[in-house]
């Protein structure tokens, strides 16, 4: 089985009671101090006023975490290929379109239709970053984060260049919430880079192996474990906790059945 080895050079985070990576990392290390409050999604500074008005929650949350990871790595956003992964896309937009299409006049807002593409966060990011670098947007249902990490690591090793990975999920409004419950907004970004240069430029190294049938690593803390199980993007929490703790650890991230990702952090 092949191993993909990459470095993590920056992290972004946004979730319930987790405003950003700087503050969130401390809470991930000391879960007793974490209080679960509804995720607050700030308006990303890099979006212009018109785009901020048009963009949905998944776009804003994705851009917020992406900005954190890029800033932490000290890299130019315009130079970075990107991988965006989401299980649900933009739920409120999807609901509004389905309602309009079930009405008698079927009048669809052109902006809503444009924003309905799964790669809307990628599109807004590359526009705001003035980036012409390649971008891929993925979905693998509950395994969307591990699929994104595999794709980002594969791109990084194929090109020998850093890749920005962004994962984000947003709850559906009713009635879709009942058929696809997602607990709250959760987003994270990882700056995935080749292992080169000095150890000081990276937070950790990851040796990634695809295809274990070992059970996914759970979070020790019951509150974080609840997040992990109820938001697809939060399946990354055990990895985020290990990155926050700066420790060597083996983690299994949920994938498709028999296709979990085994990560050795160094």
């Amino acid at each position: 089985m092949s191993t993909l080895s990459v470095a993590i050079r920056g992290v972004g985070l946004l979730g319930p009671g987790l405003a950003d990576w700087a503050g969130g990392a401390a809470l991930l290390r000391e879960p007793a101090r974490w209080r679960r409050t509804a995720t607050v999604v700030p308006a990303p500074a890099r979006l212009q006023a018109t785009e901020r008005r048009r963009a949905g929650v998944v776009v804003k949350a994705s851009i917020v975490v992406a900005e954190q990871a890029v800033a932490a790595a000290g890299l130019d956003a315009a130079s970075l290929p990107t991988v965006f992964t989401s299980s649900t896309g933009e739920p409120a937009n999807c609901h509004a379109l389905c309602e309009a299409l079930a009405s008698s006049d079927r009048l669809v807002s052109p902006t809503r239709f444009t924003n309905s593409v799964h790669n809307a966060p990628a599109g807004y990011w590359h526009i705001s970053a003035h980036s012409m670098q390649p971008s891929t947007s993925l979905c693998a249902y509950d395994a969307s984060f591990s699929a994104g990490l595999l794709e980002a690591a594969a791109q990084c090793l194929s090109s020998g260049r850093p890749v920005l990975l962004v994962a984000c999920d947003v709850p559906y409004p009713e009635p879709l919430h009942r058929v696809r419950p997602v607990a709250d907004v959760f987003g994270l970004a990882l700056l995935v880079a080749p292992i080169d240069g000095t150890a000081s430029s990276r937070l950790a190294t990851l040796a990634l192996r695809v295809g274990t049938d070992a059970p996914a690593t759970a979070c020790d803390d019951a509150g974080f474990e609840e997040l992990r199980r109820t938001i697809p993007a939060a399946r990354a929490l055990p990895l985020l906790q290990a990155l926050a703790a700066q420790c060597s650890r083996r983690i299994v991230l949920e994938g498709l059945p028999g296709m979990a990702l085994q990560l050795d952090l160094g």
């Binding site: 092949s2 299409l101 239709f113 309905s116 599109g123 012409m132 979905c139 693998a140 699929a147 295809g211």
Partner: protein, 401 residues
């Protein structure tokens, strides 16, 4: 990249089921588009509808298959049955191991039609959706890859790329990387996008649908015609047979606008150049280019500038959207399949429905099919969000390269 063998492929569109129907249409210039309505959508335009979707007895091919029953997965099933594709993929699974064969598919709307229909049947009191809506198996973007993986008994990595109309071109690049890195030995790639209310009414709202049949590269072109389609290709590291070769793939972003292309085609230029560099080829090595060519005034104009910047004005090229309509998330894989048919049959297809050439467009657009051996063809796919991809494909004869 090291050339990667494409050992089998299949395609289903408004032109019919399978490669023979498509090759015949490319030869004869028959369109798969018709002026008709879809479901309850009254349309002032032409669409490409796949026949036989409703009549297909839904297979209980694997445990839980019943929940996957929707137009999009039915369309996928038709393409698995065409050209013996499913059997080829199952043989690859037997040879490499089911967990060594990945599934990477492109779709823009997956089976969202199922949810659109369910919204008409909400509980009048609670607003709840009907209990027979199976969201994970139909609506969710991943449903297409999950269905195909289950139907073929594959157990390797799988995900869906959803970057609008470049989706199923980009999956070729995904698979090539994962094969090169030794993560998988083979991959089923492709695209599946079925007609739904979201796209039919959405493109109408954007005023991008032509009331007339789509006329790419025509001076009077007025927008696109939408079609549904599915196409699959089997990529293998160690094939027993070869239908064509994936020689290179290039990807880029416009970083310009969510729904309009960069006016000078800057992103398209970057994708085509990246694809040539990936293949280790010069522009002059390409014999035919399958254009994205949707037939909207702006898209064709921007692509024409890009093609001229990369290839000059001598490269024979055409859009096959006049045959199939714009098949959106399936377009990349469908046009890769048509490009492979062009290689196999030595026939660069003409673009259909061109009455009056646009004098401002400079590319060498084919109004008649060009017959003669082809060694290398390229195919462009561009999508909303400024997502661009270009594939370079080589003939089976080029195996010794």
């Amino acid at each position: 990249m090291k050339p990667l063998a494409i050992s089998a492929f299949s395609v289903v569109s408004g032109l019919g089921h399978g490669r023979d129907a498509h090759a015949e249409a490319l030869r004869s210039g028959r369109t798969g588009l018709a002026r008709r309505d879809f479901e309850t959508a009254r349309l002032d335009g032409w669409i490409g509808v796949v026949e036989g979707i409703e009549a297909l007895p839904w297979p209980a091919a694997f445990e839980g298959a019943a929940a996957f029953d929707c137009r999009n997965n039915r369309l996928a099933e038709l393409a698995l049955r065409s050209d013996g594709f499913g059997d080829h993929a199952r043989r690859a699974a037997a040879r490499y191991g089911a967990d060594r064969v990945g599934v990477f598919l492109g779709t823009s709307t997956s089976g969202i039609l199922q949810t659109e229909l369910a919204y008409r049947r909400r509980d009048p009191v609670t607003g709840a959706l009907p209990a027979d809506l199976h969201y994970p198996e139909t609506h969710n973007s991943f449903s297409a890859a999950r269905y195909v993986r289950g139907a073929l008994g594959l157990a390797g990595p799988a995900y869906v790329v959803s970057t609008a109309c470049s989706s199923s071109a980009k999956v070729f690049a995904v698979a090539a990387r994962l094969v090169a890195l030794g993560i998988v030995d083979a991959a089923v790639v492709g695209g599946v996008d079925s007609l739904c209310m979201t796209t039919l009414h959405g493109f109408q709202a954007l005023e991008l649908i032509s009331a007339d049949i789509c006329r790419p590269w025509d001076a009077d072109r007025a927008g696109l015609s939408i079609g549904e389609a599915a196409a699959f290709a089997l990529l293998e590291c160690d094939p027993e047979q070869t239908a064509a070769w994936l020689l290179g793939a290039g990807e880029s972003s416009d970083g310009h606008h969510m729904s309009s292309p960069h006016p000078e085609g800057a992103g398209a230029i970057a994708a085509m150049r990246a694809a040539l560099a990936d293949a280790g080829l010069q522009p002059g090595d390409v014999d035919y280019l399958n254009l994205h060519g949707t037939g909207t005034p702006n898209n064709d104009a921007a692509e024409d500038l890009a093609v001229n910047a990369v290839f000059g004005d001598r490269l024979p090229c055409s859009s096959t959207k006049g045959f199939t309509g714009h098949t959106l998330g399936a377009a990349g894989a469908v046009e890769a399949a048509l490009s492979m048919l062009a290689l196999q049959h030595g026939l660069a297809p003409a673009g259909l429905n061109l009455r009056r050439a646009d004098p401002t467009l400079k590319a060498r657009y084919l109004r008649e099919p060009l017959r003669g051996p082809l060694s290398v063809v390229a195919s462009n796919s561009f999508g909303f969000g400024g997502s661009n991809a270009c594939l370079v494909l080589g003939s089976a004869m080029g195996a010794a390269r």
